[in-house]
């Protein structure tokens, strides 16, 4: 019986953690000032939130099938989320959809090089 209580508390904690992280990611999407910063919010807390909820399902329902599926979900999410962020980030950067005034350092635009068509605008 105490086993069940411990497990319930543990899973409840994980659900709360996951909810909190997804909430923070949502707030970040609104509060962060430009596309590139928002991508941080869209990838990172979200990944940990997903890991928390998947671990939660695996703990609440421990069978070989659930655990392997959980591993597959976590693996492919952590493989694809950075790539999705990269594609969006690259598109935003190349089309100049970001704020230069909040950059402390910009080593790409200040680099001499012929292959940067957008830098002609400044």
């Amino acid at each position: 019986m105490t086993d069940d209580v411990v497990r319930d508390v543990f899973t409840a904690g994980l659900v709360l953690l996951s909810a909190f992280l997804c909430f923070a990611a949502g707030v970040g999407l609104i509060r962060f000032p430009d596309v590139l910063s928002r991508l941080h919010a869209a990838t990172k807390p979200q990944i940990l939130g997903l890991i928390a909820i998947v671990v939660d399902v695996a703990v609440a329902n421990p069978s070989a099938a659930t655990i392997t599926l959980a591993l597959a979900i976590v693996f492919f999410q952590s493989l694809t989320a950075p790539i999705a962020a990269h594609m969006l980030g690259r598109a935003a950067f190349r089309t100049d959809h970001f704020r230069r005034d909040i950059l402390v350092v910009d080593e790409v635009s200040s680099r001499p090089g012929p292959s940067r068509p957008h830098s002609a605008k400044n």
Partner: protein, 205 residues
């Protein structure tokens, strides 16, 4: 690449070649079985058929694996990565929620040590998961990553960020890198301190 006698290198290269083909194939079969959540002969055989179909229809150039895997280093890699994911998520969550948030970001260029496409790709993926950075672009010819980093107070923080990325690459190479990459790593660890500092002056403008 290394031309020191064809004794040891031949079977090694052949082994790496066979592994390069087999590992993605086995990965596909395993994925299929994971998706069904059952490890039965039916899932295994249909998995093999589908993997054969997928790898002929969606043909991709072979990934060059090094044929080398250091288990201890692999554990370190995954352990540090998990820690980094937790830390990065909490850090970004905190930046999103903290009362007085003032944006201050940076775009930096990190020259990598490796020349292997696979290591470069995985370094980029890992960099996207660890604190503070997402990859904007990968310059394959020069072997550099262009990163956008969150919450950089001043240009003085940049070398530390670069060291973080290079440390991730280092862990990756030590775990699965080829002999060529290991040699590059050896060479670069001596030159690195000087190299990172000399690029610092370009960023102040």
């Amino acid at each position: 690449m290394s031309d020191e006698g064809s004794h040891g290198t031949r079977p090694r290269m052949l082994r790496a070649r066979v592994l390069s083909g087999l590992i993605p194939f086995a990965g596909l079969v395993l994925l299929w079985m994971l998706l069904w959540g059952q490890f039965t002969w039916l899932a295994f055989i249909t998995g093999i058929l589908l993997a054969a179909l997928v790898s002929t229809v969606f043909y991709l150039p072979a990934v060059r694996l090094s044929g080398r895997f250091n288990v201890g280093r692999g554990v370190v890699l995954v352990g540090v990565l998990l820690f980094d994911i937790v830390f990065a998520s909490l850090q970004v969550a905190w930046s999103a929620l903290r009362p007085r948030y003032t944006p201050s970001n940076a775009i930096i260029v990190v020259p990598l040590v490796t020349r292997s496409d696979l290591i470069m790709t995985f370094t980029a993926v890992i960099t996207g998961l660890v604190p503070g950075s997402i990859v904007l672009d990968i310059d394959r010819d020069e072997g550099t990553l262009h990163l956008h980093t969150l919450n950089v107070a001043s240009a003085a923080d940049v070398p530390a960020l670069k060291r973080g990325v290079l440390a991730a690459e280092r862990r990756l190479i030590l775990a699965v890198g080829s002999a060529d990459d290991l040699a590059r790593l050896q060479k670069s660890t001596y030159a690195k301190e000087a190299g990172v500092q000399s690029t610092g002056e370009g960023g102040t403008g």
